[in-house]
Symmetry: C2
Subunit: 213 residues, 2 copies
């Protein structure tokens, strides 16, 4: 059985997106700076059909984000769109060929039929809570890992429930000042985490934590 | 001329002290967990006249905190005590032989004569702002570095003013949930930082940043 894991890029002041997130600006003000470590890599560019790019100590972390994942869980905002019933014509942020290439389970309060995209990605809309979304994702993933794709709220709910096996924080030295904070709403007591790895890379440090103290 | 630096231990959720800080509990609820990486070290124990302790990849960071510092700047809460005029009999948190062994400049709104302690520590009370405290500390430190001893507010004021040359964050995998946040009140735009080092150690990762992007 695969692990439930989350790989999140976070600013030094704790934000995974900047302020004023919207449908047209899902990373918020300044948030695009967060992922420059990833976007510059050959591993990332290749996965998006582009040439060139860097190979450095971040490469294994990019490959981990991009590989051995059999299913992804994400919050509704990460799929795209605000609250309320679905516009059935809306196909999300990710274009016709989303970069997942596996089943994606979207946490939502409103039912919707599955949405099959190109390249192996099908969005399933789960209305019966995070535990059921995880069950569905586990079945779909088989022996592979399940990734929580974000946003902050989805990761928080799984962390608070003690369901996250592994958390990789890619910490970048920028200060966003405001936005979506990763580490809040984690319950009392918050889940214990154990540091298992820290890797320095150009402009980012990758910190791996597992459940437990 | 020495550098102005701050070495702060921070929880993964961004706090340098837990909630409900008070004169009798300056680190707040759970805050004592922050510094266990440091307190277990031989380098720290020796500096406090104690035997035993560990030697590991954290040791150079402990030695850096404890050495080559010619003067320390701290906020009033870090010296000890609440707002308002001084009780002249109050000699602070640090005992008769504080662990500094050099001049310490306390940021305060209320004047007070210098307080000479045992072992080379003299507390000077500076009422004319952070820039003047830094000037006094530079003069006292000579060629050595000046350390901002905390708390969060003192570090924030120097960061916001662009005066911090080097910031070392010792990041520990605990979640305090609330308390004194380090990275806030940093102005707009916040000061640019550049990552220069990240070192994995048992139960902590040491992250070194310098001013500039």
């Amino acid at each position: 059985m695969g692990n439930l894991k989350a790989n999140m890029t976070m600013s030094l002041d704790g934000f995974v997106a900047g302020p004023n997130q919207s449908a047209s600006d899902p990373l918020g003000v300044g948030g695009e700076q967060l992922h420059s470590w990833l976007l510059s890599l050959k591993a990332f560019r290749e996965s998006h059909g582009e040439e060139g790019g860097e190979v450095n100590t971040s490469t294994p972390f990019a490959e981990e984000i991009l590989g051995n994942v059999g299913a992804t869980i994400m919050g509704r905002n990460m799929f795209g769109g605000g609250p309320g019933p679905w516009d059935q014509a809306w196909r999300g942020y990710w274009g016709e060929n989303p970069p997942y290439h596996h089943p994606v389970f979207v946490l939502t309060r409103h039912s919707r039929a599955p949405l099959e995209m190109e390249g192996g990605t099908t969005f399933h809309f789960v209305t019966d809570g995070i535990e059921w979304a995880l069950e569905h994702a586990r079945t779909a993933a088989g022996a592979k890992d399940i990734s929580i794709g974000g946003g902050a709220s989805a990761v928080q709910q799984y962390l608070a429930a003690g369901l996250v096996d592994e958390l990789v924080i890619s910490l970048v030295p920028i200060l966003l000042g405001a936005g979506a904070r990763l580490f809040e709403n984690l319950g009392e007591p918050p889940p214990p985490l154990r540091q298992v790895e820290a890797v320095e890379a150009p402009g980012v440090t990758h910190l791996r934590y597992v459940r437990g103290s």
